[in-house]
Symmetry: C2
Subunit: 237 residues, 2 copies
């Protein structure tokens, strides 16, 4: 552990509660547009549930890199249509504002304190599928004390593509074994480990992609396991 200089963090699900935050903003949006019959949590799950397939098009090379902001907007429009709401009847500024809910995702209760504590000893940076501006806005909104921000648009790739982890290490001036990924998702930690990074699993409720079947397996055999970021800071002391 002495050699670890940099902690990279998955953000969506690990640092912020994406599903809860999006459901709250969707609820307000649906009520404003006469669609209070639609359950906001179901709507949020349907929107977030389109995430993986859209990102996969980029990962597989079927589509050139585009930002998460753009993928989210496309998915939002498809999702609204799926619930029977006509896009053409909705003001574009309202759609854009709902799409920017991703820039305002709320941190889990322990995230700011945990990151602040970890920052005393390590360089802390997000390593997220979010684009840089999304993550900058989120950090300003939520008070996340990142040392720097590495959006997917820096490496022009989406996790678990190896270039994401390796480019991040290169930019932070460390060998992979001098960095650790902190994440609530096994697939992410597995990819980081294959690239040579250390791994820390943080248990989060409701952090999984709703498009994937719940995985009943226990978390993998990672270097560290914690129930949150404050506990992780204690473990790494």
């Amino acid at each position: 552990m002495k050699t670890i200089q940099v902690l990279f963090f998955d953000v969506l699900g690990t640092v912020v509660d994406w599903r809860g935050s999006i459901a709250a903003e969707a609820d307000s949006f649906l009520k404003r547009h006469g669609a209070s019959n639609i359950d906001a949590s179901t709507f949020a799950d349907a929107w977030v549930g389109r995430y993986d397939a859209s990102v996969e098009a980029v990962r597989s090379g079927k589509r050139p890199f585009v930002s998460l902001d753009r993928l989210n907007r496309e998915n939002l429009e498809a999702c609204l249509e799926g619930f029977g709401l006509a896009i053409s009847a909705l003001p574009s500024a309202e759609l854009e504002n709902l799409n920017l809910a991703w820039h305002r995702l709320k941190p889990w209760p322990d995230s700011v304190e945990g990151l602040s504590s970890l920052k005393k000893r390590f360089i802390v940076a997000p390593l997220s599928d979010g684009n840089t501006r999304l993550l900058v806005d989120m950090a300003r909104h939520a008070g996340l004390p990142w040392d720097t921000i590495l959006g997917a648009d820096v490496s022009l790739g989406y996790k678990p593509m190896p270039q994401v982890y390796l480019r991040a290490c290169e930019l932070l001036g460390v060998a992979p074994q001098e960095a650790m990924l902190v994440a609530a998702h096994d697939y992410d930690l597995d990819a980081a480990r294959r690239c040579g990074l250390k791994t820390a699993y943080v248990a989060r409720t409701n952090a999984q992609d709703p498009s994937k079947i719940d995985d009943p397996k226990p978390p993998g055999d990672w270097d560290y396991t914690a129930r949150g970021l404050i506990e992780l800071a204690e473990i790494l002391k």
Copy 2:
């Protein structure tokens, strides 16, 4: 001014006092290695004076992109040899530590307060020839409150190459006219303006490249001119 969302900052000379900081560390180094006959300020100017020619090799395409850390180390060794000190007689860890003086450059007295004030209203980010890790270490050391950090290794270019300014705007999700460069150097502001960014000149003493002849011209006709970052924050209120 209403449309400006992002302020980019030149760092070396504009936010930190590179010559003074390097002279102080060189002084300590030279004394430790029995070379107190060498004037530390003269040595610092000779080292920093090699900067532009080494960066120009990358800008002109004669050499693939390499980080400022590496260019500084090469220049340090050439400089020491130029002063008659044999590299082979100096411990490598000591050379590396002196090279890391660039990661510990001290801010001008108004930098932290000025940036903190500007950050309330704008996204603030360095746009520097320094590599990302250099700038991260500097920010942690000096308490610079950047929203994110964009080193030269993000765009793989050195100022005034247009890709540096344009890639930075792209990553921060703004059109060039929604961003402003803050710098103490006319060549940097001129390149930013050609790319479509707004410009703010900040007067700094002793911020020029010592390899260049002092330029007696008054500063150019920039969008804003201030005597420091606190004054700039007042002007932009």
